[in-house]
Point group: C2
């Protein structure tokens, strides 16, 4: 490897058909995941265009050496945790070597080509075993929008601008894109009802989030300082933190959301590396002048200068009516990752500041990333003002909350002049009716 | 096996020295765990008196057959998850066979004795890999006591008697008894301070809880009905849910406790089976007449009749002053598991009611099990009325909250006329000073 990273160069072309100009996975991305081709056997892979490169088969050819080979060796057949644990060095070496092998003019094209699979005929799995999952609340517009509905007199609590608010979520119910989500049943209580009822959630919602994959992590009792926090981020994904608002409103006091969130979460199945997203870093942008300065354990000059991301985020909705009429998905919102009040590094530093240990393959969610406007809401409860103003679709349908048969698609893309567009892939799932 | 379970008979005697009359582990208990003897190699075992029986070595002798052998085979070298996954049949068969082999008069005594290790020279480990950890809040006296301090006007929220309140905790920081706990640093804000500060917690507390080990569990989207919930409980332990009250007060709104709890939790390392605790089952006792009836998904006649436990619970405190003066530990409180407002089966049924999947080796905490009186408080924040009325120790020391060098010991025992006393073992840990 040279000291200069050429893997982002917009001029790079790949010999893989369809990779150049691919909206998510051009040669400048090269995300990592776990897939099964037609034979059903799980294995680690890298996405390029509409293909997936089998990393174990590639390793067996001898085309990888040194750190790049070490990374591919560490990639497990069914989970990438051991690769994530290696940290940035081997991950970058693998990326650099894949970039060489897959670029137009590579002398090794004929040796690599046999190990490419059509993504459309493969199954994508969770890329790692998720030990613990933590969800934050860093979208300040979301916090304000939700706060207004739950606490009209007190939308943003006094701790919000000091503490990166987060809570523990459920790891066992996280599924990769494409797995349907069953509508939960649960307790809810209408404001004027004498007692709660138990039944299917009537206010099923989506949440547009980014996920953060943890790399090496820390020992219990040994916090990660803010200046080292980036070393422990192995990559990013999209996260739909499905939420049953009626269950949430009734159960969440005093210990936070529980059954309202733990019935399912959906993630995009590719780990998009910090290297691939480097061109889209921007200064920490969502903290207005005049807001309190972060406490020293959350403050790092380099993080303030480049710790945020400019990623265009989209929520799309496909309903049975749109599907039957052959109409395009309804665009619910367009937002941006720049609306994070805290950076990814601040989340890692805060999470470990009391000694809590993060482990390779742990997942952090950012919280819902809404923008300031009505057409930038990352959830339906915001977009419809708690269900009072339904979305009107081209099919003539209305939506206050999700109905059975609806499908939600999340997208995230870095778009910057002079750089290839890079995306996180798709995070989609359809809603199934509740169990009888 | 016969249809009648004789493994509780008070008349049973064991040939293992010190087992008869052991306060936790007589032959009527036989809990399961993972240990390392002097050679450091981890292996599954069963506790009997002050000894541990090596289950893999026993299996190799051929003294186990059928379901009992299947259970010992499933017990992993480093974790019992696969044994827990088998459910009650093999677990009971193993218990019945161990009871035969270890009882006085067993013809196999000489073949079994070589596989007993002195517990005092062994290291005890977590008995299973904990996938997800959930903490409930079923101690109604605790909820009232804490509620008064956080919300004087509104101690018990309107949902408490309808919803088994719970939240997700941190699995990665759970440690077995004996591992010291480092005092966390974190943000806190005095009521009259203009801004928060970051530093060592000044209000470090313990919480007296029971833990529930999950057995087979359920598929995502397939709730466990209340009538089947007991089939998914593999056993019990003690749980100290260490809590930093100053961090908690500042961070917990609106999403619940996070860093205030995730720096460490300590459990007793033995899985005490439902079979061993069967003599201590009592009718659901903590729900006063006139309280709302549980919704149907939480209501089961047999569970109401015998779903609660009569277990004596104790919190002991050892301070540097007591230690130096050679004084006995200070008994902070004596409580009882009967103060659970919801049964273990109700926790399992509620947790899965929206479709959330439980997996073998998941851990549930009950929440703090305080009794109605000041000497039955399961936490210091209750026992000292938020630090206003310190404990006075025989050493002349006072304690409002835990200080560095303090050690907390939790105990739980079933004591019933006509039955051998059975305990969960010890859950203890010492507090270390915060990192500099």
């Amino acid at each position: 490897m040279t000291g200069i990273d050429h893997t982002h160069d917009a001029a790079l072309r790949s010999w893989v058909p369809g990779a150049d100009g691919h909206p998510d996975f051009p040669i400048q991305n090269l995300p990592l995941g776990v897939f099964s081709p037609g034979d059903g056997v799980m294995r680690p892979g890298a996405a390029i265009g509409d293909r997936i490169l089998d990393l174990k088969a590639l390793l067996a050819t001898g085309l990888l050496a040194g750190d790049a080979a070490a990374a591919a060796e560490a990639a497990g057949e069914t989970a990438l945790n051991s690769l994530l644990a290696l940290g940035a060095g081997p991950r970058r070496a693998l990326r650099a070597r894949l970039s060489e092998l897959l670029r137009a003019g590579s002398a090794d094209r004929d040796r690599v080509a046999p190990f490419l699979h059509e993504a459309a005929s493969c199954t994508l799995h969770l890329p790692a075993r998720i030990g613990d999952y933590t969800d934050f609340y860093v979208g300040i517009h979301h916090a304000e929008n939700i706060g207004k509905q739950f606490r009209p007199d007190n939308p943003l609590l006094p701790n919000y601008k000091h503490v990166p608010i987060g809570y523990h979520g459920r790891a066992s119910s996280i599924r990769p894109s494409g797995i349907p989500v069953r509508r939960p049943r649960g307790q809810s209580k209408a404001p004027d009802a004498a007692a709660p009822r138990f039944g299917p959630s009537a206010r099923l919602d989506l949440e547009l989030e980014l996920g953060v994959w943890i790399g090496p992590g820390n020992d219990l009792g040994t916090p990660i300082p803010i200046g080292a926090a980036q070393d422990h981020v192995a990559g990013y994904c999209l996260l739909n933190d499905w939420s049953a608002r009626d269950i949430q409103a009734w159960e969440y006091q005093p210990l936070g959301p529980f059954l309202a969130k733990n019935f399912a979460s959906t993630i995009s199945p590719w780990i998009v590396t910090p290297e691939a997203l480097a061109p889209f870093r921007i200064p920490q942008a969502a903290r207005p002048a005049g807001d309190p300065a972060p406490l020293p354990y959350l403050l790092d000059e380099s993080d303030q200068a480049s710790g945020a991301f400019d990623l265009r985020l989209e929520v799309l909705l496909v309903t049975p009516g749109l599907r039957e009429a052959g109409l395009a998905p309804h665009r619910v919102s367009v937002s941006n990752a720049r609306h994070m009040y805290w950076t990814m590094a601040q989340l890692v530093a805060h999470h470990t500041s009391g000694g809590c240990n993060l482990q390779p393959g742990d997942l952090l969610g950012t919280g819902t990333l809404s923008g300031p406007d009505r057409d930038a809401c990352g959830s339906l409860v915001e977009a419809t003002l708690g269900g009072r103003e339904p979305l009107r679709l081209a099919s003539g349908e209305e939506r206050r909350f999700l109905e059975d048969g609806d499908e939600v698609i999340l997208r995230a893309r870095g778009v910057r002049e002079g750089f290839a567009t890079v995306g996180l892939g798709e995070c989609r799932a359809e809603i199934l009716g509740a169990v009888a």
